[in-house]
Symmetry: C2
């Protein structure tokens, strides 16, 4: 038995998210279907670094699974890509030690949220960049990014549907943005994330950029563990799980 780590991208548009669900097309479901076929019908359990919701994309999701098959990394990559649907692609397969765990070994994750800021809708971007054709004060957004960075209790910035028990304290190493013509992207890098946290955080930044709240209010929201009426949960199609970083072992 050997443990394999795969780095993969997927277009989330046609998936009901990462996690397997009965009678739904999911990323985990498609992966396990192909792996089971490669193992003569035996069940092969796939573990991801975390779930992504329906419509959320990945450029660098990481999974692991165990297999008794003797295949070199390039052959795993080729065999999986040949059988997986076109909206999933394995970028890399590598053999790892038995104590590697796609979720628990992750030291850091990076998400990106893309906006199409042009005034006209673009049919070719509709599933990949959220259309936000409103004026934004990027100076104010920059100020707000600085406040988000660091170690905070992010209760106010997680979905009330979240089921995670325990501490809601997380550390964000980077909250920044880049603009390029009619596109803008938010980059959020941290130790871990609560449910819907990036989508709410971006919603809050946009409210601040539109003047609906002051950057300083973020401190109050963090302290009160309540975000009041600002910070909508942004739609999934702009969001990408961009990268998962593991400690060098």
């Amino acid at each position: 038995m050997k443990r394999w780590k795969c780095t993969m991208s997927y277009d989330g548009t046609l998936f009901y998210g990462f996690q397997k669900q009965p009678n739904k097309r999911t990323v985990q479901g498609e992966l396990e279907k192909v792996l089971s076929r490669m193992h003569g019908g035996a069940e092969v359990r796939v573990t991801g670094s975390g779930r992504t919701d329906a419509g959320v994309h990945a450029k660098g999701q990481v999974i692991h699974f165990d297999s008794p098959l003797h295949l070199p990394p390039a052959a795993w990559k080729k065999a999986l890509n040949a059988q997986l649907p076109e909206d999933i692609y394995i970028n890399e397969a590598e053999s790892v030690s038995d104590d590697f765990h796609a979720r628990f070994s992750a030291a850091e994750k990076e998400y990106r949220y893309f906006l199409h800021t042009g005034s006209e809708a673009d049919v070719f971007k509709r599933n990949y960049e959220y259309h936000f054709p409103y004026e934004l004060d990027w100076e104010r957004i920059n100020e707000a990014c600085r406040i988000f960075e660091g170690t905070h209790d992010f209760t106010a910035f997680s979905s009330k549907k979240a089921t995670v028990k325990g501490s809601k304290v997380r550390t964000l190493y980077e909250v920044s943005f880049r603009k390029n013509g009619d596109s803008a992207v938010f980059i959020v890098r941290g130790s871990g994330f609560l449910y819907n946290m990036v989508r709410i955080l971006v919603g809050t930044l946009l409210d601040i950029g539109q003047g609906k709240a002051e950057p300083e209010e973020i401190r109050t929201m963090i302290a009160k563990k309540d975000r009041g009426n600002i910070g909508k949960t942004m739609p999934p199609q702009g969001l990408y799980l961009w990268k998962v970083i593991y400690e060098k072992s």
Copy 2:
């Protein structure tokens, strides 16, 4: 009754092409459904500059229709976009004279065919750029482009399924390409096009770029009205109806 001209883009992925067909989702069908609703259920016939096949995109398709409604151009644009599905977008609506005809008044059309030439597949491009990770001799392709330009009988470069009667002589004003990192695009501009002509022409250019044929063979193919074994019909997802140009009246 007033005649309206609309310039529109659509993502062809989820359409069975432009032309209305019973029980199929088509661009014309979606447009006529919305227009009929705006006219209290009366049928409004939409005429396009030409059909596009299933999976083929448009950045600048042009249509016309007649309407007794008194709406300014910006209101037409707004009303149509509010009711059309997300994969169709009206870029511009303008009132035109009664003798304007989206198809017969067209003087020139431009198509573009996009390739993703990187070695790795990209899930986010799969419907928008055809993946062609093979080495190409762009010098040879350039030579072939020069031979295609001009006035020729393009019988060899049209589908045998074509039903058009009459002359297969067309004039191509421009056959060129641009490369940009992992993307390449062919630009084909002409007086008119036969069925599948751009897709076959690009297939021929790629065969020549891969050394499967010599640029000079194009002259023989044109003369013999037969393309032999080269020049596959390229898949639809890389193709865009980019622009339709009308004589200034």
